[in-house]
Amino acid sequence: MRAERSTIVFNIMGYIVISVLTLLCLLPFWLIISGSLSAEDDIIRDGFRLVPQHFSIEAYKAVFSNPMQILKAYEVTIRLTLTGTVLGLFFTSMAGYVLSRKDFKYRDKLAFFIYFTTLFSGGLIPWYIMIVNYLNWKDSYLALLVPSLLSAWNIILMKNFMKSIPDSIVESAKIDGAGEFTIYRRLILPLSTPGLATIGLFLGLAYWNDWFSANVFITTESKYPLQFLLYKILASAAVLKTNIAGNLGADFQAPAETLKMAVAIVVTGPIIFLYPFVQRYFVKGLTIGAVKG
C-alpha cells in the first residue's frame, strides 16, 4: 500500500509525542532504580543521577540485613488486601445485584440513599471522630479494613455491569424454586466476572496503596502497612541523617539516601511485577463500564 505523505508525517509526529510521553512516564521509575543501585558515597557527594557512577547493592543488603520490619509490613498489607478485596467484592456485588433487580420496589430509593453519600459528606474530621471516638478503632486493623470496604461508585459500577444480565435468567430460576441468594451466588456472580475483576482490581489496588488510613489511625510501629512504612522511612530517615551528621562525625556512613530508594523498589515491586498481567483485564473492564456509562 502506498502511504501518503501526510500519513507519514502524522506517524512521525505520533511516534515523537508518544515516545516522549512514555519516557516521561518511565523516568521517575528509572531514577529510583538507579538511585537504589548506586554507592552511598556518590549520592552524598554528587546527588542522584540517571546512571550510577559506581554500581552497588549495599542498599538492598541493608534493607534485607534486618528484614523483619519489611516482612511484617508485607504481611499486614497482604492480609488487608486479601480480606478487604474479598469482603468488599462480596458486599459490593450483593448490593449491586439488589439494585439491579428491576422488580425490586425500593430500588431507586435505596440507590439514591447510597448515591447521596458522594454528593454530600460531613468531611474528614467527623468521619475520623466517628471511627476513633465512637467505634474505638484507634490503632486497630479494623480502621484500615472496614472504612475502605465499600464505595458508592463501586456499587453503582457493579449495578451497571449486572443490569446487562437478562431478566429472564432470574425469572426462570425463580420458577425453578431457587432462593434469591442462590440466584445471586450460582447465576449472577459467574455471569459478572468482568465486573468483579475490575472492581476487585480497584479494591485490591486501593488497599495495597493505602497509606492515609494508617497515617491517621495507626500508632504502633509493628502494625504499619507497606506504603506507610515507606512514607515513614522517606520522612524519618531524613531526620535520622541530620542527627548522625551532628553526633557521630563523618566516618559513619550507613546507606540512607540509597536505602530510601531501595525500600521504594522493594515496596512497589509486586505491583510492577503483577501489572502486565492484570492490566489487560483492567482495561477491558474499564472500557465495558465506560461504554455503558
Binding site: F48, G123, I125, P147, Q227, Y231, L234, T287, V291
Partner: protein, 304 residues
C-alpha cells in the same frame, strides 16, 4: 409504612443482602454528617459532640476574615482547572495518535507504560519528588551542578511547585484517561473514515473533520462532570509532594490539606470541620448545578 413492611416480608432476602451496604453508609457517611455541628463549636475532646461550647458562625467568620478560605478555595479551584484541562487535552491527543498510528507492538508497549503510574501509590510519587528535587542530592540539582550552574533550593521557592504538582497529576492519570478516549474513538464507525478516504481526505483532515467533532460530546461531558468536583482536592497528591511545608502554603495549600492539618497537627477541630463543611456544601451546590446543565445538554449522561 404497612406497604413497606409487606415489601420487607416479601423480599426479605433482598433486603438482607443490601443491609451491610446500608449499615456501612449509615455509620461512615450519614452519622458523621451530624458531626458538621463541630463547625459551629469551639471543640474540645472532653466536651465531645454536645459538651463543647457553641460559637455560632465564628469559625466561618474567622476563615473568611483571615483570608485563609479565599486562598484555599482559589488554590483548590485553580489546581483542579489545570488538572482537568491539561489532563484531558493530553489524554485526547494520545488517544488520537494511538488510534491512527501504525505499529502494533509500539502502541501496545507505550500504552502499557503510560498506564503504569495509575497503579502505583502516592507515597512512591513522594519518593520521586524527593529523588528529583531535594536540595542536597536531588537529580535536578545534580544536573545543574554538572552544567556548572548553581543548585536550586526548590523547598524555599513557591514558583516551581504549581508545575510539579500539575505534572505529577497529569502523569498519573494519563494512561487511564487515554483508555477512556480510545474507547470513545473505537466507537466511531469506520464508514466515516472510509468514505472520507475515498473523497481524498488525508489523515489530518479526517481527524479534524471526523474524529474530533465526534469526540466533542464525550470531551465536553467529561470536562463538565469533572467541573462538578472542582472543590474536591486530591489530598494524597499534595501531601506526598509538598507535605507539611509552611514555606509553600501560599502556592500549594488546598482545602483538604488545611482540614487534615487542623485534625492532625493543629488540633483545631472546629475550624477544620468548618472548612470541610464549606467545601462539602459548595461542592454539593456545584454538582447539582453541573448535573442540571448536563441534563439540558444530553439527558442520558446526567448523573441523577
Amino acid at each position: 409504612m404497612r406497604e413497606f413492611f409487606k415489601e420487607l416480608g416479601k423480599n426479605r432476602t433482598l433486603f438482607l443482602m443490601i443491609l451491610p451496604a446500608l449499615l456501612f453508609f449509615i455509620v461512615f457517611s450519614y452519622i458523621p454528617m451530624v458531626g458538621v455541628y463541630y463547625a459551629f463549636t469551639n471543640f474540645s475532646f472532653d466536651g465531645g459532640l454536645f459538651g463543647s461550647p457553641f460559637v455560632g458562625l465564628q469559625n466561618f467568620k474567622f476563615l473568611f476574615e483571615s483570608g485563609a478560605l479565599y486562598n484555599l478555595t482559589k488554590n483548590t479551584v485553580l489546581y483542579n482547572l489545570a488538572f482537568i484541562f491539561v489532563g484531558n487535552i493530553l489524554q485526547l491527543v494520545c488517544a488520537v495518535f494511538l488510534s491512527e498510528m501504525v505499529g502494533k507492538w509500539f502502541k501496545k508497549t507505550t500504552q502499557s507504560i503510560m498506564f503504569l503510574p495509575f497503579f502505583i501509590s502516592f507515597v512512591l510519587v513522594g519518593a520521586f519528588v524527593y529523588n528529583l528535587f531535594n536540595f542536597e542530592t536531588g537529580a535536578v540539582n545534580t544536573l545543574l551542578r554538572e552544567l556548572g550552574l548553581q543548585p536550586y533550593d526548590f523547598y524555599l521557592h513557591t514558583a516551581p511547585w504549581k508545575y510539579i504538582i500539575v505534572f505529577f497529576n497529569v502523569w498519573k492519570g494519563l494512561g487511564y484517561g487515554t483508555v477512556i478516549y480510545l474507547a470513545a474513538i473505537m466507537g466511531i464507525s469506520d464508514e466515516y473514515h472510509e468514505a472520507a478516504k475515498i473523497d481524498g481526505a488525508n489523515i489530518f483532515k479526517r481527524i479534524r473533520y471526523i474524529t474530533l467533532p465526534l469526540l466533542r460530546p464525550t470531551f465536553i461531558l467529561l470536562i463538565l462532570l469533572s467541573l462538578g468536583g472542582i472543590l474536591k482536592g486530591q489530598f494524597d497528591l499534595f501531601w506526598q509532594i509538598v507535605g507539611n511545608n509552611g514555606m509553600l502554603y501560599d502556592a500549594t495549600d488546598i482545602i483538604d490539606t488545611y482540614v487534615y492539618r487542623s485534625l492532625a497537627i493543629n488540633f483545631d477541630i472546629g475550624m477544620g470541620t468548618a472548612a470541610g463543611l464549606f467545601q462539602s456544601f459548595f461542592g454539593f451546590v456545584l454538582v447539582v448545578t453541573v448535573n442540571w446543565i448536563v441534563r439540558k445538554v444530553q439527558k442520558d449522561y446526567a448523573l441523577f
